[in-house]
């Protein structure tokens, strides 16, 4: 039998699928639903220091080749979120599905503070979303945009918690391997790659961008080749495990991501294309595909496309 279970740091995953942050990770009940739908691990929606309502509608659309969203990091603030995550961890533990808590903040210090607070919920991993703009930078350059800022956030978060951390990188950088090396040197235990690619969808008849926020993040099928390349570059540059994320919609996509060097596979937009129950579907497609192709474990496939 094909064995889909895999180790990720000190965690045991039933299968390599991971619910990506920002998709259905807003409450204990939704995290539990996704866990029951077959995810190997689940990530909560990114939470920052203060409550945020997010952007007005439209916040998301399917433009044909993928999705674009600008939800605007809606979150209840880290105090309330920590209570939600405590409840979530309790619901997930009996299911054997690890909880990954995603955090963001507008400054290095605030990142440390949020990490310290969220640790009280005892998530299995903290995901550090550094794609948010650095409010201290005159251009609002995302922390993920430069090795220095990415490393600074990583080091600060690492010092603030004993829970392992995965740093989530952005695809819109000239050399992602360089950012990966910087965060690993600063203490990242793992890397999540990638976040959405900034984009804009314009409606010609309206003469306007469709999202209320004008710009948004591209995800789904259009992101897949970008994400595969990022993961391949990172896997060649560093040794930490990678949650490969971007455009994974089928079991075959998941196989490609693992071949690019990922240890686990993040899944977000596929919940739109195939519904929230997509995890079970991807997992069984992956198992069938591996069986037919003669692979007996995830480890056997990992990174073979970049050797």
């Amino acid at each position: 039998m094909t064995d889909l279970s895999c180790a990720f740091l000190n965690l045991h995953l039933k299968n390599p699928t991971v619910l990506a942050s920002g998709i259905l990770g807003t409450s204990p009940t939704l995290l539990e639903r996704v866990a029951r739908a077959g995810a190997g691990a689940v990530t909560s929606k990114s939470c920052g220091p203060e409550p945020r309502a997010g952007h007005p509608n439209p916040v998301c659309l399917d433009w044909g080749g993928g999705l674009i969203n600008a939800i605007g990091l809606t979150n209840p603030g880290i105090e309330e979120e920590t209570r939600h995550l405590t409840a979530s961890a309790q619901r997930l533990r009996p299911l054997g599905v690890p909880l990954i808590a995603s955090i963001f903040a507008p400054s290095v210090e605030a990142f440390a503070e949020v990490a310290r607070k969220v640790s009280a919920a005892l998530p299995d991993l903290i995901e550090v979303n550094i794609s948010c703009p650095n409010v201290g930078d005159e251009f609002g350059t995302p922390f993920a945009g430069l090795p220095e800022t990415a490393a600074a956030v990583t080091a600060a978060v690492k010092a603030a918690t004993d829970i392992p951390i995965s740093v989530k990188l952005a695809p819109n950088v000239p050399v992602i391997a360089r950012i990966a090396r910087a965060v690993v040197e600063a203490g990242a235990d793992a890397i999540t790659a990638v976040n959405t690619m900034p984009g804009m969808v314009i409606d010609a008849d309206a003469g306007r961008p469709v999202l209320a926020n004008k710009m948004g993040g591209i995800s789904g099928p259009a992101l897949k080749p970008i994400a595969l390349r990022c993961v391949a570059e990172i896997a060649r540059a560093v040794k930490v495990p990678i949650i490969g994320t971007g455009g994974i919609t089928t079991g075959r996509d998941a196989a490609e991501m693992i071949m690019a060097g990922a240890s686990a596979v993040g899944i977000g937009s596929a919940a739109w294309y195939r519904g929230p129950e997509v995890f079970d579907a991807i997992v069984s497609e992956l198992a069938e595909w591996m069986q037919a192709a003669g692979y007996s474990s995830i480890e056997e496939m990992r990174g073979i496309a970049i050797q």
Binding site: S27, T29, D203, A271
Partner: protein
């Protein structure tokens, strides 16, 4: 004009495969995007109550002006049996009228209970009546029909009409009350929920039905109004659980 604050927008093209109970997202650039129940599919129709920025802007459109829509979204009503009781509060009358038309076209029996704060908020009463539905009205202030909550009328209709299925669309407390009534009487019901719909795609989690309400009404935990709903089907007959 359906009443003083409501208006039906009829589009210049159909939205094929749209079922009663499904919704669409209507966008007006610079104004916003909100969900509206489909009130007719060929031609596409929505009925809008002017309460805030998007709904007011929609009600002020002139004929020929453009509305951007994406849909149909969500899951609609799945008619069951041959005797149908429709229960509407507020704009809920709009999708129910579309449902009534569909059911009447099949030659089945339809009764309707409509509730509102006052006469000015009542919608589509004469439309239901001239379509041939027995219609019961309640208003909070007694300015039309019986004074009181629509659930009183529902209770009466259940006794006299003994419906196979109850279909409801309206404010959450009304739906909770209808759910409870139907459970007591072992009648299947289909409830169309309202929630803050943002993505409308089952991604952002914004429209999750409150876990408390889920518990009270038998909706599964983690239920997404935009994708699993807006209609929830509750089987109170022949239930195996």
């Amino acid at each position: 004009m359906e009443n003083e604050r409501a208006r039906s927008l009829v589009f210049d093209r159909p939205l094929t495969h749209a079922q009663p109970g499904q919704y669409l997202m209507a966008w007006l650039p610079e104004v916003g995007e909100k969900p509206f129940s489909i009130a007719g599919s060929d031609p596409l129709k929505i009925t809008v109550v002017a309460v805030g920025p998007v709904s007011q802007a929609l009600c002020q459109l002139k004929i020929g002006e453009r509305v951007w829509v994406r849909g149909p979204l969500g899951s609609g009503y799945q008619p069951g049996g041959r005797r149908h009781l429709l229960v509407g509060g507020g704009y809920g009358a709009a999708p129910l009228f579309y449902l009534a038309q569909t059911l009447l076209a099949r030659g089945e029996e339809v009764q309707v209970c409509l509730g509102a704060r006052g006469q000015a908020d009542l919608m589509l009463v004469s439309a239901f009546e001239s379509a041939g539905c027995r219609t019961r009205i309640t208003t909070d202030d007694g300015s039309a029909g019986e004074k009181g909550l629509v659930t009183q009328a529902v209770q009466a209709a259940i006794e006299t009409f003994s419906p196979d299925t109850v279909y409801a669309c309206g404010p959450v407390p009304m739906l909770v009350a209808v759910a409870r009534l139907c459970e007591e009487k072992s009648i299947n019901c289909q409830l169309s929920w309202e929630a803050l719909i943002r993505c409308g795609m089952g991604l952002c989690g914004s429209c999750e039905l409150d876990p408390e309400i889920c518990q009270q009404t038998g909706v599964p935990q983690g239920w997404l109004t935009c994708k699993d709903g807006p209609v929830f089907q509750k089987n109170n007959q022949n239930s195996l659980s």
